[in-house]
Amino acid sequence: MSFDTHRTWVYRISGRNINLYQYLEGAASDTLAGYRIKLPNEYYGNQLIYPDETITDGLRYEGTAFIEPFVDVDPSELDGNDNPTLTDQTSPDESDHINLNRMLSLAVVDYLKAMVSEQAGQIEMKEYYMKQFWKKVGDNESNKRKMSITFPISPFGVR
């Protein structure tokens, strides 16, 4: 029975794997009738141990991924009042949509221009378009955030 997993489990990155450990304080433990008990004769001090139980679907990763890069309909257009239903296109062709919003799709166009410039040996043009690419990616990111900045007005400030 795993409990307080945010305190009692840790991980370490090792190449393309993670090493998963349980953090054990004081003694070896075991599960008896569903209760976790310390084994009195096995004192080890604080230590890391390999996972000592099987948990179905116990490990959860969250991250960015290559998920449905091409879809059958425009992901930026509503279907009536609902979000569009997107179907992944595993063998994309010219009629398929890039699964990005409008701003990021424009960024992708800049990336394509950068690659075409690089092929033509126009490195300065490539750098210019890559700058435009990252600028649009950054703009898209800031579109999701609303920030307000407050400045105090000086006593003699002109209003």
Binding site: M1, S2, F3, D4, T5, H6, V10, Y11, R12, S14, R16, N17, I18, N19, L20, Y21, L48, Y50, P51, E53, T54, I55, T56, D57, G58, L59, R60, Y61, E62, G63, T64, A65, F66, I67, P69, F70, D74, P92, D93, E94, S95, D96, H97, I98, L100, R102, L104, S105, L106, A107, V108, V109, Y111, L112, K113, M115, V116, F133, V137, N140
Partner: protein
């Protein structure tokens, strides 16, 4: 935006090359920003320490372990130091 529209804006003729570059661009975006997040679950096996990253994951955001007492996944911490134990041949 369709692949064709992107190609026409650039003046590209080769669809295969355009699709490959679009994939590269998406990869770059996903490497820097959390644009399209996914989650993956796998079993934890008793006595097994090593678990591979999901094959299609680009950037790791968090790792959680299921707390079976309340069925919630809780974020776990990453240890930065190198453990003294390099391998446990008898984990039980």
């Amino acid at each position: 935006m369709t692949v064709l529209e992107a190609m026409e804006r650039v003046g590209l003729k080769e669809t295969t090359l355009a699709v490959a570059w679009i994939k590269d661009a998406i990869h770059l975006i996903q490497s820097q920003h959390d644009e399209n997040l996914g989650s993956w679950k796998t079993d934890i096996a008793d006595g097994t320490r090593d678990y591979p990253f999901p094959a299609n994951m680009i950037k790791l955001k968090s790792i959680s372990v299921k707390d079976t007492t309340d069925s919630k996944y809780k974020k776990i911490r990453r240890i930065v130091h190198e453990p003294v134990m390099t391998e446990d041949t008898d984990p039980e």
